[in-house]
Amino acid sequence: MNDIIDVFFVLILATAALIITVRTLSSLFNIYSFQSLFIAVVAVVLFFQTGNIVLLLIAILTILSKALLVPYVMRRIQKNMNLKRDVEFRYLTPIGSLLVGTLMIFLVYRSFSTLLSELSYDDLFFFGAVIGLSITLMGMMVIFTRKKVITKIIGYLMMENGILLFSLFIAELPFIIEVLIVIDLVILITLATILAYGIDSTIDDFHSKLNSFTLWFKD
């Protein structure tokens, strides 16, 4: 069982590395989709280990919202925006980002090995927490280094995935809270994508979009 989780840890880290470096938007969305799927699989494996039904629900919720719904919305907006690639990087080149990312994993590992000893976790849970937090930090790096808003949103989503992984291994929050957080996230992402659309379109188009969006979530 633990071996399966280890394999998926590696896969999740690989997707994170891809998100940092890839330039084509549609593959960015796909990679994000896969990353969410991998995390859901980890949750399912943990469910078989512990028998905690909440983990299964979280897995289903993750697949529905993050592997399917959010990438779908992003793709539609991207079609409207007529934008294929995000080639601009600020501060860091892709290689540099990878190096900084590796450094981050190391730092998180070092600081956690002293901190989490107070809560007495075994190795697997410890690694899960480290990878979760590292991915969160890498997501933040994506937000800082990419210029297009739509890539920034992917960075934000990656941060959120990292936190989900972190919470799977440290302590699951009550399910109702988990659901509310996801709803919150979907609203936020939708708004952010619409705003991103607004920057690249005429103000008039944008406002009609905004108008329909708020009415939809109010009714």
Binding site: I170, I177, H207, L210, K218
Partner: protein, 486 residues
């Protein structure tokens, strides 16, 4: 009681669905609904303050009412109440000048009213995770309110706000999870309720708690505009319509501070308290310093006021960091005073913007002759916010400074020096603006009655608050400090 809040909110939102074909009528109808909404909330809050025994719990202890929550709600409802009147004339004017479109009115008012409901419930919720969720919702709603104006800069400002605030808030989730794990480790049952956390405060492992505190603090600090997470604030405040700047500055910053103070009350019982208090003091000083230095070269009125908000939030954080009961008493009073004065300043700035179609000081000419009330509002507001005697900010500032002196004299000197800079910035700009003569004839913009009355009420209110300190308020503040466990 909470049901009353919820029902009013829902009814108002449903009534908003009624359509009026004529734009004038629609604007007035939507605004009247908002006035009804805000006055109902104010009335419910006052009733709750008088009748309910504190603290009382609702909905499986997920929500509660205590004196602190009621106090903050009272401030928020009063600001919303005044601004709902102000927006009647203001939004009509925005419509005439084409800055907001008729079909956007419903979005604007729906977000406005939802924001009020969400803010009130965020004060009343007893659960840290729920508080986080509501706080995120306030970000979303205020971002919508910022982009309803017809300008591309507004989208940029809103996006910046959205990204800074929600990225920081994600770090809070890490803190929340750690906190949850700690309580689970302690009692076998994880919990994030404010009251339970406060009971367990002394039993949480100190290093890990400090770690969790810092993570949660990052998110709340971003909402409260604490340096270095303040980068969204000046732009958002300057670009938003003035009615919304009022809400951002007087209500939403307070929500962040509210979260920090509640968290600090838990930290107060923990052995890690000294470390945490030093962290807050450092961030507070840094915030005041950055704001003070940024204020001097400002040419934009609303940006200047925004930076002054940052400065005050830093000052409040500094006070919280020192954390004696007396200083907290005055910090709480300071949040009230700051909220009212900021409302006055942004109301005046709104009228001035409609007069000159600009927020830049250099464009404001013949200000006293053209807009007597707004220029008095600006003048008195600036004097009040720098903390001149006879104004409420003076009392709280003086008392907080005295406590800082007892804590550390060098710190006091630094803060005083920074305040001097702030006062300098305000004075030079006031003198320049009020001396400028018109180079051509300006047409005076007749501000609507609904904009002038709240302004006048605020001026009078601020004067009264400066010289008169009711015992009721004193008892309430004492109660809050006591219930937070100081």
């Amino acid at each position: 009681m909470l049901l009353a809040y919820l029902l009013t909110g829902i009814v108002v939102l449903i009534l908003m669905l009624i359509r009026f074909p004529e734009s004038e009528k629609r604007a007035n109808y939507l605004n009247s609904l908002s006035i009804v909404h805000t006055s109902a909330y104010l009335a419910i809050t006052i009733t709750a303050l008088i009748t309910i025994s504190l603290p009382s719990y609702f909905a499986n202890r997920y929500f509660f009412m205590d004196s602190f929550a009621l106090y903050e709600t009272l401030i928020a409802c009063s600001v919303f109440f005044l601004s709902s009147f102000y927006s009647r004339g203001y939004v009509r004017r925005l419509m005439q000048s084409g800055e907001i479109e008729v079909r956007e009115l419903r979005v604007f008012y729906a977000a406005y009213n939802l924001l009020l409901t969400v803010v009130v419930f965020s004060f009343y919720c007893n659960n840290l995770a729920l508080f986080w969720i509501l706080l995120e919702l306030t970000t979303v709603l205020s971002a919508i309110l910022i982009v309803t104006l017809n300008a591309k800069e507004n989208i940029v400002a809103a996006l910046k706000y959205l990204f800074t605030a929600s990225t920081a808030m994600l770090f809070s989730v890490i803190g929340l999870i750690l906190l949850f794990a700690m309580t689970k480790n302690n009692t076998g049952d994880g919990n994030l309720n404010w009251d339970i956390l406060q009971q367990q405060g002394n039993a949480l492992p100190p290093t890990l708690f400090t770690f969790a505190f810092i993570f949660i603090f990052i998110g709340f600090a971003a909402k409260a505009g604490i340096v270095p997470f303040h980068t969204w604030l000046p732009q958002a405040h300057a670009k938003a319509p003035s009615v919304i700047s009022v809400l951002l500055s007087s209500v939403l910053l307070n929500v962040g501070i509210y979260g920090i103070l509640r968290l600090y009350a838990i930290a107060h019982l923990n052995p890690s308290w000294h470390t945490i208090s030093i962290i807050l003091i450092v961030f507070g000083c840094l915030t005041v310093a950055v704001a003070a230095f940024s204020m001097l070269p400002r040419g934009n009125l609303k940006k200047l006021i925004a930076f002054s908000s940052i400065e005050h939030m830093g000052f409040i954080l500094l006070g919280i960091g020192i954390g004696t009961p007396l200083i907290l008493f005055w910090v709480l009073f300071h949040t009230l005073a700051h909220a009212l004065v900021k409302t006055l300043l942004f109301f005046s700035a709104g009228i001035l913007h409609e007069q000159y179609h600009s927020n830049m000081f250099e464009d404001m000419r013949d200000i006293i002759k053209l807009q007597p009330l707004a220029s008095w509002g600006l003048l008195l507001g600036c004097l009040a916010i720098t903390g001149l005697p006879l104004f409420p900010v003076f009392i709280s500032k003086l008392n907080i400074l005295m406590q800082i002196a007892a804590y550390s004299l060098p710190l006091l000197c630094v803060i005083l020096l920074l305040f001097l800079l702030v006062a300098g910035a305000f004075t030079t700009i006031l003198i320049r603006t009020f001396m400028q003569k018109a180079d051509h004839e300006y047409e005076s913009y007749p501000a609507a009655m609904s904009m002038k009355v709240p302004l006048a009420v605020l001026i009078i209110g601020i004067f009264v608050m400066g010289v008169f300190f009711p015992t009721g308020l004193q008892n309430l503040l004492n109660n809050i400090v006591f219930s937070l466990g100081f």
